[in-house]
Symmetry: C2
Subunit: 263 residues, 2 copies
Protein backbone atom coordinates (compact mmCIF):
# COMPACT_ATOMS: atom_id res chain seq x y z
CA UNK A 1 0.00 0.00 0.00
CA UNK A 2 0.99 3.65 -0.34
CA UNK A 3 1.45 5.74 2.77
CA UNK A 4 1.98 9.50 2.92
CA UNK A 5 3.51 10.93 6.09
CA UNK A 6 3.26 14.65 6.68
CA UNK A 7 6.00 15.50 9.18
CA UNK A 8 5.93 18.85 10.99
CA UNK A 9 8.87 19.14 13.37
CA UNK A 10 11.69 21.64 12.83
CA UNK A 11 14.46 19.21 13.76
CA UNK A 12 15.07 15.96 11.92
CA UNK A 13 17.45 14.73 14.68
CA UNK A 14 14.72 14.98 17.32
CA UNK A 15 12.61 12.37 19.06
CA UNK A 16 9.94 13.09 16.46
CA UNK A 17 12.52 12.51 13.74
CA UNK A 18 13.53 9.19 15.31
CA UNK A 19 9.92 8.10 15.45
CA UNK A 20 9.54 9.07 11.81
CA UNK A 21 12.47 6.77 10.98
CA UNK A 22 10.82 3.99 12.98
CA UNK A 23 7.61 4.35 11.00
CA UNK A 24 9.26 4.51 7.58
CA UNK A 25 11.48 1.52 8.29
CA UNK A 26 8.66 -0.61 9.64
CA UNK A 27 6.24 0.26 6.86
CA UNK A 28 8.83 -0.41 4.15
CA UNK A 29 9.76 -3.70 5.80
CA UNK A 30 6.07 -4.56 5.56
CA UNK A 31 6.13 -4.04 1.81
CA UNK A 32 4.52 -0.62 1.74
CA UNK A 33 5.82 2.40 -0.14
CA UNK A 34 6.19 5.54 1.93
CA UNK A 35 6.35 9.18 0.87
CA UNK A 36 7.38 11.75 3.49
CA UNK A 37 6.56 15.44 3.31
CA UNK A 38 9.05 16.99 5.75
CA UNK A 39 7.42 20.40 5.89
CA UNK A 40 10.29 22.26 7.55
CA UNK A 41 12.88 20.71 5.23
CA UNK A 42 10.70 21.59 2.23
CA UNK A 43 10.46 25.19 3.41
CA UNK A 44 6.70 24.77 3.24
CA UNK A 45 4.89 28.10 2.86
CA UNK A 46 2.56 28.20 5.85
CA UNK A 47 0.49 31.24 4.98
CA UNK A 48 -2.44 31.06 2.56
CA UNK A 49 -2.42 34.18 0.40
CA UNK A 50 -2.98 35.44 -3.13
CA UNK A 51 0.22 33.87 -4.43
CA UNK A 52 -1.42 30.46 -4.07
CA UNK A 53 -3.76 31.10 -7.00
CA UNK A 54 -2.00 31.63 -10.31
CA UNK A 55 -5.08 32.69 -12.27
CA UNK A 56 -6.08 35.73 -10.21
CA UNK A 57 -6.57 39.03 -11.96
CA UNK A 58 -3.67 41.31 -11.05
CA UNK A 59 -4.80 43.70 -8.33
CA UNK A 60 -8.10 41.91 -7.71
CA UNK A 61 -9.19 41.60 -4.09
CA UNK A 62 -8.36 38.20 -2.65
CA UNK A 63 -11.34 35.94 -1.95
CA UNK A 64 -9.84 32.91 -0.20
CA UNK A 65 -12.75 30.55 -0.96
CA UNK A 66 -13.64 31.66 -4.47
CA UNK A 67 -10.04 31.99 -5.60
CA UNK A 68 -9.27 28.55 -4.22
CA UNK A 69 -12.26 27.10 -6.06
CA UNK A 70 -11.29 28.65 -9.39
CA UNK A 71 -7.60 27.83 -9.13
CA UNK A 72 -8.35 24.21 -8.23
CA UNK A 73 -10.93 23.84 -11.01
CA UNK A 74 -8.67 25.39 -13.64
CA UNK A 75 -5.44 23.66 -12.57
CA UNK A 76 -3.92 27.00 -11.62
CA UNK A 77 -2.87 26.33 -8.06
CA UNK A 78 0.64 26.93 -6.80
CA UNK A 79 2.61 23.76 -7.72
CA UNK A 80 3.47 22.95 -4.09
CA UNK A 81 -0.25 22.71 -3.30
CA UNK A 82 -1.02 20.51 -6.31
CA UNK A 83 1.89 18.18 -5.44
CA UNK A 84 0.57 17.61 -1.93
CA UNK A 85 -2.95 16.99 -3.21
CA UNK A 86 -1.54 14.40 -5.60
CA UNK A 87 0.17 12.63 -2.68
CA UNK A 88 -3.14 12.46 -0.84
CA UNK A 89 -5.01 11.21 -3.90
CA UNK A 90 -2.58 8.36 -4.50
CA UNK A 91 -2.15 7.36 -0.82
CA UNK A 92 -4.01 4.54 0.85
CA UNK A 93 -3.20 5.94 4.29
CA UNK A 94 -2.03 9.32 5.55
CA UNK A 95 -0.18 10.02 8.79
CA UNK A 96 0.16 13.50 10.25
CA UNK A 97 3.10 13.59 12.67
CA UNK A 98 3.73 16.58 14.92
CA UNK A 99 4.53 17.82 18.42
CA UNK A 100 1.50 19.26 20.21
CA UNK A 101 2.23 22.98 20.39
CA UNK A 102 -0.27 25.03 22.37
CA UNK A 103 -2.71 22.13 22.28
CA UNK A 104 -2.90 21.87 18.50
CA UNK A 105 -0.74 21.27 15.43
CA UNK A 106 2.22 23.56 14.63
CA UNK A 107 1.47 26.53 12.38
CA UNK A 108 3.40 25.02 9.48
CA UNK A 109 1.06 22.01 9.45
CA UNK A 110 -2.04 24.13 9.96
CA UNK A 111 -0.94 26.09 6.92
CA UNK A 112 -0.49 22.85 5.00
CA UNK A 113 -4.12 22.01 5.75
CA UNK A 114 -5.36 25.48 4.81
CA UNK A 115 -3.52 25.54 1.48
CA UNK A 116 -3.82 21.88 0.40
CA UNK A 117 -7.46 21.57 1.43
CA UNK A 118 -8.75 23.55 -1.55
CA UNK A 119 -12.37 24.36 -2.33
CA UNK A 120 -13.52 21.49 -4.55
CA UNK A 121 -10.86 19.19 -3.15
CA UNK A 122 -11.58 19.01 0.58
CA UNK A 123 -14.62 21.26 0.98
CA UNK A 124 -17.36 22.65 -1.20
CA UNK A 125 -17.69 19.17 -2.73
CA UNK A 126 -21.00 17.63 -3.78
CA UNK A 127 -24.64 18.58 -3.77
CA UNK A 128 -26.33 20.74 -1.12
CA UNK A 129 -30.02 19.91 -0.82
CA UNK A 130 -32.67 18.88 1.69
CA UNK A 131 -31.07 15.44 1.84
CA UNK A 132 -27.38 16.21 1.58
CA UNK A 133 -25.15 19.01 2.86
CA UNK A 134 -22.21 18.43 0.59
CA UNK A 135 -19.88 15.43 0.51
CA UNK A 136 -18.30 15.87 3.90
CA UNK A 137 -18.06 14.27 7.34
CA UNK A 138 -17.64 10.74 6.09
CA UNK A 139 -17.84 11.41 2.34
CA UNK A 140 -15.56 13.25 -0.06
CA UNK A 141 -12.42 12.71 -2.10
CA UNK A 142 -10.59 11.00 0.78
CA UNK A 143 -13.20 8.27 1.18
CA UNK A 144 -11.65 4.83 1.59
CA UNK A 145 -8.31 6.18 2.80
CA UNK A 146 -7.16 5.81 6.38
CA UNK A 147 -5.62 8.61 8.43
CA UNK A 148 -4.00 8.83 11.84
CA UNK A 149 -2.11 11.30 14.00
CA UNK A 150 1.26 10.58 15.60
CA UNK A 151 1.73 13.16 18.33
CA UNK A 152 4.22 14.00 21.07
CA UNK A 153 3.03 16.01 24.06
CA UNK A 154 5.07 17.80 26.70
CA UNK A 155 2.76 17.19 29.64
CA UNK A 156 2.11 14.02 31.57
CA UNK A 157 -0.55 11.45 30.72
CA UNK A 158 -2.61 12.50 33.73
CA UNK A 159 -2.61 16.13 32.56
CA UNK A 160 -4.53 14.96 29.46
CA UNK A 161 -6.84 12.53 31.30
CA UNK A 162 -10.64 12.99 31.54
CA UNK A 163 -10.25 15.42 34.47
CA UNK A 164 -6.70 16.54 33.66
CA UNK A 165 -5.99 20.26 33.51
CA UNK A 166 -5.09 20.39 29.80
CA UNK A 167 -8.35 18.72 28.80
CA UNK A 168 -8.72 15.12 27.61
CA UNK A 169 -6.49 14.37 24.64
CA UNK A 170 -9.40 12.97 22.62
CA UNK A 171 -11.26 16.25 22.98
CA UNK A 172 -8.19 18.34 22.15
CA UNK A 173 -7.67 16.31 18.99
CA UNK A 174 -11.36 16.26 17.98
CA UNK A 175 -11.12 19.38 15.79
CA UNK A 176 -8.37 17.61 13.82
CA UNK A 177 -9.82 14.09 13.85
CA UNK A 178 -13.34 15.15 13.01
CA UNK A 179 -12.98 18.60 11.46
CA UNK A 180 -9.89 17.97 9.31
CA UNK A 181 -9.75 14.18 8.71
CA UNK A 182 -13.33 12.89 8.90
CA UNK A 183 -14.49 16.01 7.01
CA UNK A 184 -13.09 15.14 3.55
CA UNK A 185 -13.89 11.45 4.04
CA UNK A 186 -10.88 9.85 5.74
CA UNK A 187 -11.44 6.79 7.93
CA UNK A 188 -9.87 8.08 11.16
CA UNK A 189 -7.80 5.84 13.41
CA UNK A 190 -7.14 6.53 17.10
CA UNK A 191 -4.11 8.78 17.54
CA UNK A 192 -0.74 7.53 18.73
CA UNK A 193 0.25 9.94 21.50
CA UNK A 194 3.48 9.95 23.53
CA UNK A 195 3.47 11.99 26.74
CA UNK A 196 6.16 13.65 28.79
CA UNK A 197 8.22 14.55 25.73
CA UNK A 198 10.20 17.72 25.24
CA UNK A 199 11.49 18.74 28.67
CA UNK A 200 14.76 16.89 28.78
CA UNK A 201 15.47 13.72 26.88
CA UNK A 202 13.61 10.45 27.14
CA UNK A 203 15.72 7.57 28.42
CA UNK A 204 16.42 4.43 26.40
CA UNK A 205 13.81 2.34 28.17
CA UNK A 206 11.08 4.88 27.56
CA UNK A 207 12.17 5.34 23.95
CA UNK A 208 12.16 1.61 23.23
CA UNK A 209 8.68 1.28 24.68
CA UNK A 210 7.38 4.12 22.52
CA UNK A 211 9.13 2.83 19.40
CA UNK A 212 7.80 -0.70 19.87
CA UNK A 213 4.26 0.51 20.39
CA UNK A 214 4.53 2.65 17.28
CA UNK A 215 5.83 -0.29 15.23
CA UNK A 216 2.80 -2.27 16.32
CA UNK A 217 0.52 0.54 15.20
CA UNK A 218 2.25 0.54 11.81
CA UNK A 219 1.74 -3.24 11.52
CA UNK A 220 -1.96 -2.72 12.23
CA UNK A 221 -2.43 0.39 10.10
CA UNK A 222 -4.95 -1.28 7.81
CA UNK A 223 -6.70 -3.37 10.48
CA UNK A 224 -7.01 -0.99 13.47
CA UNK A 225 -10.63 -0.26 14.34
CA UNK A 226 -11.36 3.36 13.38
CA UNK A 227 -13.04 6.01 15.51
CA UNK A 228 -16.75 5.49 14.79
CA UNK A 229 -17.62 9.03 13.74
CA UNK A 230 -21.14 9.44 12.41
CA UNK A 231 -21.68 10.19 8.73
CA UNK A 232 -23.41 13.47 8.00
CA UNK A 233 -25.67 12.32 5.18
CA UNK A 234 -26.54 8.82 6.42
CA UNK A 235 -29.62 9.77 8.43
CA UNK A 236 -28.22 10.66 11.87
CA UNK A 237 -28.54 14.44 11.43
CA UNK A 238 -31.37 16.84 10.70
CA UNK A 239 -30.62 18.67 7.44
CA UNK A 240 -29.96 21.62 7.12
CA UNK A 241 -29.75 22.28 10.89
CA UNK A 242 -27.11 19.52 11.10
CA UNK A 243 -27.97 18.71 14.68
CA UNK A 244 -27.99 15.10 15.85
CA UNK A 245 -31.51 13.66 15.67
CA UNK A 246 -33.16 13.76 19.08
CA UNK A 247 -33.74 10.00 19.30
CA UNK A 248 -30.00 9.30 18.95
CA UNK A 249 -27.80 9.46 22.07
CA UNK A 250 -30.48 11.43 23.95
CA UNK A 251 -28.98 13.93 26.34
CA UNK A 252 -25.47 13.60 24.99
CA UNK A 253 -23.93 16.94 23.98
CA UNK A 254 -20.51 17.96 22.80
CA UNK A 255 -17.94 16.09 20.76
CA UNK A 256 -19.04 12.67 22.07
CA UNK A 257 -22.38 13.03 20.29
CA UNK A 258 -20.64 12.51 16.96
CA UNK A 259 -19.38 9.03 17.76
CA UNK A 260 -21.86 6.26 17.15
CA UNK A 261 -20.51 4.31 20.13
CA UNK A 262 -21.91 6.91 22.55
CA UNK A 263 -25.48 5.94 23.30
CA UNK B 1 -6.93 51.85 28.66
CA UNK B 2 -4.61 50.25 26.14
CA UNK B 3 -5.96 47.61 23.80
CA UNK B 4 -3.96 45.41 21.44
CA UNK B 5 -5.82 43.77 18.56
CA UNK B 6 -4.15 40.91 16.71
CA UNK B 7 -5.87 40.70 13.33
CA UNK B 8 -5.43 37.58 11.20
CA UNK B 9 -7.40 37.90 7.96
CA UNK B 10 -5.67 38.18 4.57
CA UNK B 11 -8.03 40.87 3.27
CA UNK B 12 -8.43 44.26 4.92
CA UNK B 13 -11.54 45.02 2.79
CA UNK B 14 -13.39 41.98 4.15
CA UNK B 15 -16.15 41.57 6.68
CA UNK B 16 -13.45 40.87 9.23
CA UNK B 17 -11.74 44.09 8.23
CA UNK B 18 -14.98 46.04 8.60
CA UNK B 19 -15.50 44.58 12.05
CA UNK B 20 -11.95 45.56 12.92
CA UNK B 21 -12.79 49.15 11.93
CA UNK B 22 -15.92 49.00 14.08
CA UNK B 23 -13.88 47.93 17.10
CA UNK B 24 -11.11 50.48 16.67
CA UNK B 25 -13.56 53.35 16.16
CA UNK B 26 -15.69 52.41 19.14
CA UNK B 27 -12.78 51.85 21.48
CA UNK B 28 -11.12 55.12 20.49
CA UNK B 29 -14.42 56.96 20.90
CA UNK B 30 -14.48 55.51 24.40
CA UNK B 31 -11.12 57.10 25.17
CA UNK B 32 -8.99 53.99 24.80
CA UNK B 33 -5.82 53.75 22.76
CA UNK B 34 -5.71 50.89 20.27
CA UNK B 35 -2.77 49.17 18.63
CA UNK B 36 -3.49 46.77 15.74
CA UNK B 37 -1.16 43.99 14.61
CA UNK B 38 -2.42 43.21 11.10
CA UNK B 39 -0.46 40.00 10.68
CA UNK B 40 -0.94 39.62 6.92
CA UNK B 41 -0.11 43.28 6.26
CA UNK B 42 2.98 42.97 8.47
CA UNK B 43 4.11 39.91 6.51
CA UNK B 44 4.25 38.10 9.84
CA UNK B 45 6.60 35.10 9.77
CA UNK B 46 4.37 32.19 10.74
CA UNK B 47 6.95 29.48 11.17
CA UNK B 48 9.01 29.11 14.34
CA UNK B 49 12.57 28.20 13.40
CA UNK B 50 16.21 28.83 14.22
CA UNK B 51 16.15 32.35 12.78
CA UNK B 52 14.01 33.41 15.75
CA UNK B 53 16.92 33.11 18.17
CA UNK B 54 19.81 35.44 17.43
CA UNK B 55 22.23 33.97 19.98
CA UNK B 56 22.36 30.40 18.67
CA UNK B 57 25.73 28.86 17.92
CA UNK B 58 26.10 28.59 14.14
CA UNK B 59 25.31 25.04 13.08
CA UNK B 60 23.99 24.00 16.48
CA UNK B 61 20.94 21.75 16.49
CA UNK B 62 17.74 23.70 17.10
CA UNK B 63 16.06 23.10 20.46
CA UNK B 64 12.80 25.05 20.25
CA UNK B 65 12.25 25.28 24.02
CA UNK B 66 15.81 25.80 25.22
CA UNK B 67 16.69 28.23 22.44
CA UNK B 68 13.53 30.20 23.13
CA UNK B 69 14.39 30.34 26.83
CA UNK B 70 17.94 31.57 26.23
CA UNK B 71 17.02 34.09 23.55
CA UNK B 72 14.25 35.54 25.72
CA UNK B 73 16.47 35.68 28.81
CA UNK B 74 19.36 37.31 26.96
CA UNK B 75 17.30 39.74 24.88
CA UNK B 76 18.34 37.99 21.68
CA UNK B 77 14.98 37.23 20.15
CA UNK B 78 14.07 38.23 16.61
CA UNK B 79 12.87 41.87 16.85
CA UNK B 80 9.39 41.08 15.52
CA UNK B 81 8.84 38.70 18.44
CA UNK B 82 10.08 41.18 21.03
CA UNK B 83 7.85 43.92 19.58
CA UNK B 84 4.75 41.78 19.93
CA UNK B 85 5.66 40.80 23.49
CA UNK B 86 6.02 44.49 24.31
CA UNK B 87 2.51 45.14 22.96
CA UNK B 88 1.14 42.43 25.22
CA UNK B 89 3.02 43.68 28.26
CA UNK B 90 1.71 47.22 27.88
CA UNK B 91 -1.87 46.28 26.96
CA UNK B 92 -4.75 46.19 29.41
CA UNK B 93 -6.79 44.05 27.05
CA UNK B 94 -5.95 41.90 24.03
CA UNK B 95 -8.31 40.89 21.24
CA UNK B 96 -7.52 38.10 18.78
CA UNK B 97 -9.64 38.51 15.64
CA UNK B 98 -9.78 35.81 12.98
CA UNK B 99 -11.97 33.72 10.70
CA UNK B 100 -12.42 30.15 11.94
CA UNK B 101 -10.47 28.06 9.41
CA UNK B 102 -10.73 24.32 9.85
CA UNK B 103 -12.18 24.83 13.32
CA UNK B 104 -9.24 26.80 14.70
CA UNK B 105 -7.23 29.95 14.13
CA UNK B 106 -5.44 30.58 10.80
CA UNK B 107 -1.85 29.36 10.57
CA UNK B 108 -0.49 32.91 10.59
CA UNK B 109 -2.04 33.52 14.02
CA UNK B 110 -1.04 30.10 15.33
CA UNK B 111 2.50 31.01 14.34
CA UNK B 112 2.17 34.32 16.16
CA UNK B 113 1.31 32.39 19.31
CA UNK B 114 4.15 29.91 18.87
CA UNK B 115 6.78 32.60 18.29
CA UNK B 116 5.58 35.34 20.69
CA UNK B 117 4.79 32.92 23.52
CA UNK B 118 8.43 32.38 24.43
CA UNK B 119 9.77 30.17 27.20
CA UNK B 120 10.01 32.47 30.22
CA UNK B 121 7.38 34.79 28.80
CA UNK B 122 4.28 32.62 28.40
CA UNK B 123 5.43 29.22 29.63
CA UNK B 124 8.18 27.85 31.82
CA UNK B 125 7.45 30.67 34.26
CA UNK B 126 7.64 30.29 38.06
CA UNK B 127 8.40 27.56 40.53
CA UNK B 128 7.62 23.87 40.05
CA UNK B 129 7.14 22.13 43.39
CA UNK B 130 4.67 20.04 45.36
CA UNK B 131 2.48 23.12 45.73
CA UNK B 132 2.88 24.86 42.40
CA UNK B 133 3.28 23.68 38.80
CA UNK B 134 4.61 26.89 37.37
CA UNK B 135 2.81 30.19 36.99
CA UNK B 136 0.19 29.13 34.49
CA UNK B 137 -3.54 28.56 34.09
CA UNK B 138 -4.58 31.71 35.89
CA UNK B 139 -1.14 33.05 36.80
CA UNK B 140 1.73 34.37 34.72
CA UNK B 141 2.89 37.54 33.02
CA UNK B 142 -0.55 38.28 31.55
CA UNK B 143 -2.28 38.32 34.95
CA UNK B 144 -4.68 41.24 35.28
CA UNK B 145 -5.11 41.69 31.53
CA UNK B 146 -8.32 40.79 29.72
CA UNK B 147 -8.47 38.84 26.47
CA UNK B 148 -11.23 37.92 24.06
CA UNK B 149 -11.70 36.33 20.66
CA UNK B 150 -13.64 37.94 17.81
CA UNK B 151 -14.41 35.18 15.34
CA UNK B 152 -16.32 34.68 12.10
CA UNK B 153 -17.53 31.20 11.20
CA UNK B 154 -18.79 29.90 7.88
CA UNK B 155 -21.37 27.47 9.22
CA UNK B 156 -24.74 28.19 10.77
CA UNK B 157 -25.35 28.75 14.48
CA UNK B 158 -27.06 25.36 14.73
CA UNK B 159 -24.01 23.61 13.27
CA UNK B 160 -22.03 24.82 16.31
CA UNK B 161 -24.80 24.14 18.89
CA UNK B 162 -24.48 21.53 21.69
CA UNK B 163 -25.50 18.71 19.29
CA UNK B 164 -24.43 20.44 16.07
CA UNK B 165 -22.21 18.53 13.67
CA UNK B 166 -19.16 20.81 13.95
CA UNK B 167 -19.10 20.52 17.73
CA UNK B 168 -20.17 23.22 20.19
CA UNK B 169 -18.33 26.48 19.61
CA UNK B 170 -17.31 26.72 23.29
CA UNK B 171 -15.59 23.35 23.05
CA UNK B 172 -13.91 24.18 19.73
CA UNK B 173 -12.53 27.39 21.25
CA UNK B 174 -11.50 25.82 24.58
CA UNK B 175 -7.93 25.02 23.44
CA UNK B 176 -7.53 28.74 22.67
CA UNK B 177 -9.48 30.16 25.61
CA UNK B 178 -7.94 27.86 28.19
CA UNK B 179 -4.72 26.62 26.60
CA UNK B 180 -3.54 29.89 25.02
CA UNK B 181 -5.23 32.72 26.98
CA UNK B 182 -5.90 31.39 30.50
CA UNK B 183 -2.50 29.66 30.42
CA UNK B 184 -0.26 32.76 30.70
CA UNK B 185 -2.73 34.44 33.05
CA UNK B 186 -5.23 36.37 30.94
CA UNK B 187 -8.74 36.92 32.28
CA UNK B 188 -10.73 35.36 29.42
CA UNK B 189 -13.99 36.89 28.22
CA UNK B 190 -16.64 34.96 26.27
CA UNK B 191 -15.90 35.03 22.54
CA UNK B 192 -17.81 37.18 20.06
CA UNK B 193 -18.75 34.81 17.25
CA UNK B 194 -20.60 35.65 14.02
CA UNK B 195 -22.04 32.71 12.09
CA UNK B 196 -22.93 32.16 8.45
CA UNK B 197 -20.04 34.30 7.22
CA UNK B 198 -17.97 33.65 4.13
CA UNK B 199 -20.28 31.99 1.62
CA UNK B 200 -21.62 35.02 -0.18
CA UNK B 201 -21.98 38.44 1.38
CA UNK B 202 -23.92 39.33 4.47
CA UNK B 203 -26.75 41.77 3.83
CA UNK B 204 -26.96 45.22 5.43
CA UNK B 205 -29.44 44.19 8.08
CA UNK B 206 -27.30 41.27 9.21
CA UNK B 207 -24.18 43.42 9.13
CA UNK B 208 -25.73 46.18 11.23
CA UNK B 209 -26.87 43.66 13.81
CA UNK B 210 -23.40 42.16 14.08
CA UNK B 211 -21.69 45.57 14.19
CA UNK B 212 -24.02 46.84 16.92
CA UNK B 213 -23.55 43.76 19.04
CA UNK B 214 -19.77 44.10 18.65
CA UNK B 215 -19.89 47.79 19.65
CA UNK B 216 -21.72 46.77 22.80
CA UNK B 217 -19.04 44.20 23.58
CA UNK B 218 -16.39 46.89 23.16
CA UNK B 219 -18.29 49.19 25.54
CA UNK B 220 -18.34 46.37 28.10
CA UNK B 221 -14.79 45.16 27.53
CA UNK B 222 -13.72 45.94 31.08
CA UNK B 223 -16.97 44.94 32.79
CA UNK B 224 -18.01 41.72 30.99
CA UNK B 225 -18.07 38.74 33.32
CA UNK B 226 -15.16 36.45 32.38
CA UNK B 227 -15.28 32.70 31.79
CA UNK B 228 -14.75 31.25 35.29
CA UNK B 229 -11.79 28.98 34.52
CA UNK B 230 -10.25 27.35 37.58
CA UNK B 231 -6.78 28.42 38.71
CA UNK B 232 -4.19 25.66 38.68
CA UNK B 233 -2.41 26.53 41.92
CA UNK B 234 -5.38 27.66 44.01
CA UNK B 235 -6.28 24.27 45.47
CA UNK B 236 -8.66 22.77 42.90
CA UNK B 237 -6.11 20.37 41.39
CA UNK B 238 -3.93 17.56 42.69
CA UNK B 239 -0.28 18.43 42.12
CA UNK B 240 1.63 17.07 40.19
CA UNK B 241 -1.08 14.89 38.59
CA UNK B 242 -3.01 18.08 37.77
CA UNK B 243 -6.33 16.32 37.83
CA UNK B 244 -9.36 18.05 39.31
CA UNK B 245 -9.82 17.06 42.95
CA UNK B 246 -12.43 14.33 43.27
CA UNK B 247 -14.74 16.31 45.55
CA UNK B 248 -15.10 19.09 42.96
CA UNK B 249 -17.69 18.68 40.19
CA UNK B 250 -17.93 14.93 40.84
CA UNK B 251 -18.54 12.97 37.68
CA UNK B 252 -17.84 15.89 35.36
CA UNK B 253 -15.19 15.11 32.74
CA UNK B 254 -13.85 17.02 29.76
CA UNK B 255 -13.44 20.73 29.20
CA UNK B 256 -16.39 21.65 31.43
CA UNK B 257 -14.53 20.37 34.50
CA UNK B 258 -12.21 23.38 34.30
CA UNK B 259 -14.95 25.96 34.77
CA UNK B 260 -15.89 26.63 38.38
CA UNK B 261 -19.54 27.17 37.39
CA UNK B 262 -19.92 23.46 36.51
CA UNK B 263 -20.90 21.67 39.71
Amino acid sequence: MKIAIIYAHPVRESLNGSLLNVMVKRLEAGGHSVQVSDLYAMGWKAVLDGDDFLNREPGARLDPMLDSKQAYAEGKQSPDIAAEQEKLLTADAVILQFPLWWFSMPAILKGWVERVYAYGFAYGVGEHSKLRWGDRYGEGLMTGKRAMLVVTAGGWTSHYSPRGINGPIDDLLFPIHHGILHYPGFTVLPAFVSYGIGRGRVDDVQYQAVASALEKRMDELFTTEPIPFRRQNAGDYEIPALTLRSELAPGVVGFAAHRSDFK
